[in-house]
Amino acid sequence: MILMILRQLMEKNMSSNEVLVGRSHEVAHQFDTAEQEFNTAKLGMWVFMAQEILFFGGLFVAYAVFRMMHPDMFREAAHHLSLKWGLLNTLFLLTSSFTMTLGERAIRQDKIKQGIMLLMTTVGLATAFMGVKAIEYAAKIHHGYLPAKWFFGEGMDNSLHLFFGIYFALTGLHGVHVIIGIGLILWLVYRTIRGEFGSHYFLPIEMVTLYWHLVDLVWTFLFPLLYLIR
């Protein structure tokens, strides 16, 4: 699955320079050509994603520091998370990245209907992800596995509450990104229905797709770090 997505990504990168946008779309006044506009926007998006990675980076460093300080506690903590739900969510997100890419591809080839279907599938998968997250959160809250001060769960290690501080911060922040992503994709669907996108212009779709892959990528780090390493 990941390999397929990677291939998609690479294909897209190779072809984007050849595809000249701008048949009916009007180039913004500060640019000379549609190609310049396209490349500039893309650069801006990549740079913005670098920023996102550093934003999450802080939390990953916190994770690493505390894992170093309490290695046994982290080993125990992973047992309090449900591998099944985590795996299911990983599946949801990876598939959604795939459908997102297919949707972008379809719209670029003027298969508008198919594109909208795929984008909506992505939204569906993302919502399912959030649903599972809600179930997980509810279970944690019920059993008292809450951030530090509120913690009343059962566990062997007496620093277990620290893990859940990090767990809620990391997954919460990621969840906020998923929700923003859902909003962005719905906005794309709306604009696609209005007929703004097609082979002549698909820049915003490309941007959101990049963003969505990033959200997916962050999760592919979160999942092993929080759930898998036992």
Binding site: Q30, L43, Q51, A148, I166, A169
Partner: protein, 535 residues
């Protein structure tokens, strides 16, 4: 492409709305300029009050807590609202596109958005003062910041929002430099101000998010007690210091790099000589941006960091002196045998060299481990960073504002009064801060409003200096505002500069140039332009 009438950007459209919704980088730059100086005067009033309180050793009109709040607000306003956005958001916004021959920045709407995000951040920051001004110091160190009952959440939220504005400006400038250059404007034909903004953008993009997550974690710590920074829950308060300085040291270069770029512009124009070692200047900006990320630990020398980490951070901090030194020597070499024109902007550039050198050299004292243990948290540190930030950045900012005032506003300011103000500011600044080196080396700790009687004369001296400094700024506002209404009309090129911004009218036309300028020479090739050889 639609034809744009060649009228200056002030007159192109009128009314309040045409400013509030403008996408023109020049108008956005000017709006930033107004807000940024407003913040400066706000922070300046706090500073004057602080100095006034320190006139006598027993604390005569403020309580302990009020004093803590006042120095925190002075720091927070000056850092987050003034000096971080200062040069890039105002002069950078106005001149970056013009200097590379572009019609606008890459993303004008994002530019306007980042301006409004700045305004929202400012509202939060200033609002927090009304609901319980923060007393933690602008660094918000845990665990005190998580236990004080002042408005830490509102103020950190403000800094978080302002950081976001800074990131968006960085993204915008980076994309602009990469993709918006006019034909013929190769990387090594770019003015050094552009290079410095580019290096600054890299830091803004890569460092600011770390501040963002740090402040977010602090807010989570305060609201839902996640425990990461709380020692009573097993968290690590030193981790907060690491996170905070991972941003805030590079932020020092967000503050100083654009100033260095301005210096190169002013020095070469008023010496009428090509900048000495252009490529070294460009590369040293990038080098500073890279080293900036590797030295944060020098703020933790006495925080219980391992001795080996201290040694490495000390060594890396020394490295910063190399590219900074290259710049100072190159400016001096540029002036050597040049035909110096002692106009106001150039006077500020000279002030920068003098003050920044003192600030830089005292920075080396502080980078030395043994010396730093004695000097940590004394007035020596306060004097050091004020020499770098005010003596460096603010001097260059004022100089740059005078340099480009005729271009931005279309009016000349009064040269006589400008020199008077420059003299007062330079004198006042040294009166305030030079004695603080002496006090600090004698052990006067920072952040206390009561002190031993023996420091009273030096403190009083410093306070008197603050009045001279304040007077200098007052004179400056008066003649600048006067010039807007009664100033002589400025010619297109009052200083005979040769970078692109001097090839358009004053003020520039709506899309910056009547026709896209041809780039025929290096940015500082005065010899080619004047048709004679300068020795």
């Amino acid at each position: 492409m639609s034809h744009v009438p060649n009228i200056n950007f002030f007159k192109a459209t009128t009314g309040l709305k045409s400013w509030l919704f403008t996408l023109d980088h020049k108008r956005i730059g000017l709006m930033y300029l107004g807000f940024i100086w407003f913040s400066f005067f706000l922070g300046g009033i706090f500073a004057l009050l602080l100095r006034l309180e320190l006139l006598f050793p027993n604390g005569w009109f403020l309580t302990d807590r009020q004093y803590d709040q006042l120095f925190t607000l002075h720091g927070a306003v000056m850092v987050f609202l003034f000096i971080i956005p200062s040069i890039p958001a105002s002069l950078g916004n106005f001149f970056l596109p013009i200097m590379i021959g572009a019609k606008d920045v890459a993303f004008p709407r994002l530019n306007l958005a980042s301006f409004y995000i700045y305004v929202v951040g400012a509202v939060f920051g200033i609002g927090s003062m009304l609901i319980g001004a923060v007393d933690t110091g602008w660094t918000f160190y845990t665990p005190y910041s998580t236990s004080t009952d002042t408005a830490v959440i509102t103020m950190t939220l403000a800094a978080f929002i302002l950081g976001f504005s800074s990131i968006l400006t960085g993204v915008n400038f980076l994309a602009t430099v990469h993709n918006m250059r006019a034909k013929g404007m190769t990387w090594f034909k770019m003015p050094l101000f552009v290079w410095s903004l580019y290096a600054t953008a890299v830091i803004q993009i890569l460092a600011t998010p770390v501040l963002g997550i740090t402040l977010l974690l602090l807010i989570l710590e305060k609201t839902i007690n996640i425990g990461i920074f709380d020692p009573s829950l097993g968290g690590d308060p030193i981790l907060f210091q690491h996170f905070f300085w991972f941003y805030s040291h590079p932020a020092v270069y967000i503050m100083i790099l654009p100033a260095m770029g301005l210096m190169s512009e002013m020095i070469s124009t008023f010496s009428r000589r090509s900048i000495f070692g252009y490529r070294f200047m460009a590369y040293s900006s990038i080098a500073i941006a890279i080293i900036a990320f590797l030295v944060w630990g020098h703020h933790l020398f006495v925080s219980g960091q391992s001795m080996y980490a201290n040694m490495i951070f000390s060594f890396l901090t020394y490295l910063v002196a190399i590219p900074s030194g290259i710049k100072v020597f190159n400016w001096m070499a540029t002036m050597y045998k040049g035909s110096l024109d002692l106009k106001t902007p150039f006077l500020y550039a000279l002030a920068f060299i003098f003050l920044f050198t003192i600030g830089g050299v005292t920075g080396i004292f502080l980078a030395a481990l043994a010396v730093d243990i004695h000097l940590t948290d004394t007035y020596f540190v306060v004097a050091h960073f004020h020499y770098v930030m005010v003596g460096g950045t603010v001097m260059a900012f004022i100089g740059g504002m005078h340099y480009w005032w005729p271009k931005m506003i279309g009016k000349m300011y009064n040269e006589y009064w400008a020199r008077v103000a420059c003299f007062l500011i330079f004198l006042g600044f040294n009166l305030v801060f030079f004695v603080q080196f002496i006090m600090g080396s004698k052990g006067m700790p920072r952040r206390y409003h009561t002190y031993l009687d023996q420091f009273q004369p030096l403190h009083a001296f410093s306070t008197y200096g603050s009045w001279v400094l304040g007077l200098g700024f007052l004179v400056m506002i008066i003649y600048l505002i006067h010039s807007i209404f009664y100033g002589e009309k400025a010619p297109a090129n009052p200083w005979n500069g040769i970078t692109l911004e001097w090839k358009t009218e004053s003020p520039p036309v709506l899309e910056n140039f009547d026709k896209v300028p041809e780039i025929t020479h290096d940015p500082y090739d005065f010899a080619a332009v004047d048709g004679k050889k300068y020795e």
